[in-house]
């Protein structure tokens, strides 16, 4: 089992490394960091621009391979990801933003996975009953919405609710109320209130996708002979369904989780932007609009590491559920 997981981990690690490096090369080829200085009035001299760009290690006159090598050497020797175009280090920028994104991602993914699995199993067990139909059509509708539409619809509803109640029950702009005074508990409640809508938005999308997948995996298992065997040897229906049904149906689900995680990341980035959170998603988009190669690579590295963790976790789950890989 350890061998299996280590093998999969190495596979994911190589993929993540190649993804980050190719992101650096792509960004270097496409983005033009000099453009930011050329548009200024008065225009800085070419020497100044060159000096600035050389300092950041993003001068287009240096060959991409040479820049990539310097970047790699810096990463290995100093653990540094270079400086952003605003002359702050990418690492400190990421440290300030990562918590925000992780809070949303972890909560959203866990809620989505739990709800998705439960709803999927429920729909499969009660196939074609009214509840199954409602769940199916609801998830089809949610899957037909872009994530920003879900976010904004939630905001419209929250505004309506706040108006009806005549008080600010749900706040949804930003990550916390700026300049809020109070103890630790007040601040915690404030953050939790801000977290509510983005988490719901992300969890809805995830749960819709997972529940469709879990339902078909579960339907497959339900018609298998070993469920009948378990029933005929005297297990109760519930026990047969959970011990022999859900457990087996979760195996393809864990693979799907790993493959769909990149989609979740993109959805989380969009959600952050819609709710004006200053997270990694915003950093990534800003880096591109500001032609900031180092910050972009940092953001992609963050995503690649998350994909690496999610992929490894899903393989651990896979190995725990499926005894065949443990041999």
């Amino acid at each position: 089992m350890i061998g299996f997981i280590v093998k999969r981990f190495i596979n994911y690690a190589i993929l993540s490394a190649i993804a980050t490096l190719s992101a650096y090369v792509l960004a270097s080829l496409i983005l033009n960091p000099a453009g930011r200085y050329l548009g200024r009035n008065p225009r800085p001299s070419d020497e100044t621009i060159n000096a600035i760009l050389n300092g950041l290690g993003v001068n287009p006159n240096t060959p991409v391979v040479a820049r990539l090598w310097t970047w790699l050497v810096n990463l290995v020797t100093h653990g540094s990801l270079g400086d952003t175009i605003h002359n702050t280090s990418v690492i400190s920028e990421m440290a300030a933003r990562a918590g925000t994104s992780l809070r949303l991602l972890i909560l959203g993914t866990i809620i989505a996975a739990i709800f998705g699995v439960v709803l999927g199993v429920w729909g499969a067990v009660r196939q074609y009953k009214a509840s199954d139909q409602v769940i199916s059509y609801a998830s089809f509708t949610i899957l037909a919405m872009p994530s920003f539409v879900i976010g904004i619809l939630l905001m419209i509803m929250a505004t309506g609710l706040n108006n009806i109640l005549g008080m600010q029950l749900i706040s949804f702009t930003g990550e916390y109320t700026a300049g809020l005074d109070g103890g630790w508990w007040t601040l915690f409640l404030d953050r939790a209130a801000h977290l509510l809508l983005p988490t719901i938005s992300l969890a809805l999308m995830g749960a819709a996708g997972y529940s469709r997948y879990q339902r078909s995996a579960m339907l497959d298992v339900l018609s298998a002979d070993y469920i009948r065997t378990a029933r005929s040897k005297g297990r109760t229906r519930g026990s047969a369904l959970v011990r022999h049904g859900v457990r087996v149906a979760l195996i393809p689900m864990s693979t799907y989780f790993a493959y769909s995680f990149a989609t979740v990341l993109a959805g989380a980035a969009v959600t952050e932007l819609v709710f004006s959170w200053h997270g990694m998603g915003e950093m990534l988009v800003q880096a591109i609009t500001e032609s900031d190669i180092n910050a972009f690579t940092g953001a992609i590295l963050f995503n690649a590491i998350l994909v690496l963790i999610a992929g490894t976790l899903s393989d651990v789950v896979y190995a725990a559920l499926d005894p065949r890989v443990r041999v």
Partner: protein, 308 residues
């Protein structure tokens, strides 16, 4: 809700191929069509999709305003008899704008879906048929694109595509929308490779490309048709997300995404600016995905993860 009540009756009949009772063996195509006919989900989706396309084509005729007209006497008005979907703060007719935006989004979706399916078919068939290093390199490339969320790549590539026309966006979306399906096609091709008819063709000296074109692709065509249909909705979603953040369709052109971006700021106070285009968008994507889902069931009612 009527469609919900219809479901159980029809779906049970869809499960068992009742048409096989005839004396002559039923062709696969006829079987698929008969299964589709018994699936209400297919009809709901198809009627919805046709309605949206017809509306996009002819919806502007009864309307008194064009998308570029400004009604300076009714700026920021709510939906009225004069402006069916209301107007924006500079007096643009939202109904007309929605139709123009829908046209663009539909064209993009209807072109990207099949285009991505063709790429998926060719790449998947080549990887599965040739095997060896070709296969390994292609699979690695696909996995790489699955690790890097394609939305981020779109945004990264947007500076190039912004300067080109919106047609370039079609190729960009198709260029990153084929990976998952290519893996499925590859797996199918690998099992086809060792079938007798392909072996026979190979031993007769038919060259690789002809075998792929004449024997492999027709045998995975049902998968490709499904993928093309499901891809339509996916492409529209990607396009609107990109345009919403200003990375897709650019200013003089209007798509549902740019329309939603314009309406976003006023979503809470003047919801008609946002709700109407959003509802049309969701309806379109939902119809396309219902058709695709019904197709998938009809082609392969017993397949594990695809079954519904």
């Amino acid at each position: 809700m009527s469609m919900l009540e219809e479901m159980p009756i029809a779906d049970t009949s869809a499960g068992e191929p009742a048409t096989v009772t005839g004396r002559k063996p039923v062709s696969r195509f006829r079987l698929v069509v008969s299964r589709l006919r018994g699936t209400p989900r297919f009809w709901v989706g198809l009627v919805g999709l046709v309605a949206v396309i017809l509306w996009a084509a002819f919806g502007l005729i009864p309307n008194a305003w064009n998308a570029t007209d400004l009604d300076v006497y009714n700026m920021g008005s709510s939906p009225t008899g004069l402006h069916w979907f209301g107007t924006s703060d500079i007096g643009e007719d939202i109904y007309a704008q929605t139709i123009v935006g829908l046209r663009k989004s539909l064209v993009i979706g209807l072109l990207v879906g099949p285009l991505a399916a063709i790429i998926a078919g060719v790449v998947g068939a080549v990887a599965g048929y040739l095997g060896g290093w070709w296969d390994r390199i292609i699979i690695w490339f696909i996995d790489l694109l699955l690790v890097l969320p394609s939305l981020f790549l779109f945004i990264l590539l947007s500076p190039i595509f912004k300067s080109l026309s919106w047609v370039a966006l079609i190729f960009l979306l198709a260029g990153f929308g084929w990976m998952i399906m290519a893996r499925v096609i590859r797996a199918q091709t690998m099992s086809l490779r060792d079938r007798d008819f392909i072996k026979a063709a190979r031993f007769m000296g038919v060259d690789t490309w002809t075998i792929i074109r004449r024997h492999v692709l027709p045998n995975v065509s049902s998968l490709l048709i499904i993928d093309a249909t499901l891809g339509v909705g996916g492409a529209i979603l990607s396009e609107t997300t990109l345009s919403f953040f200003g990375f897709g369709i650019q200013a003089p052109d209007v798509s549902l995404g740019t329309l939603l971006a314009a309406g976003q700021g006023a979503a809470a106070t003047r919801p008609w600016l946002f709700i109407f285009p959003a509802a049309i968008l969701v309806f379109t994507v939902l119809s396309a995905s219902l058709v695709g889902d019904a197709l998938r069931d009809a082609v392969d009612p017993t397949s594990g993860v695809n079954r519904d």
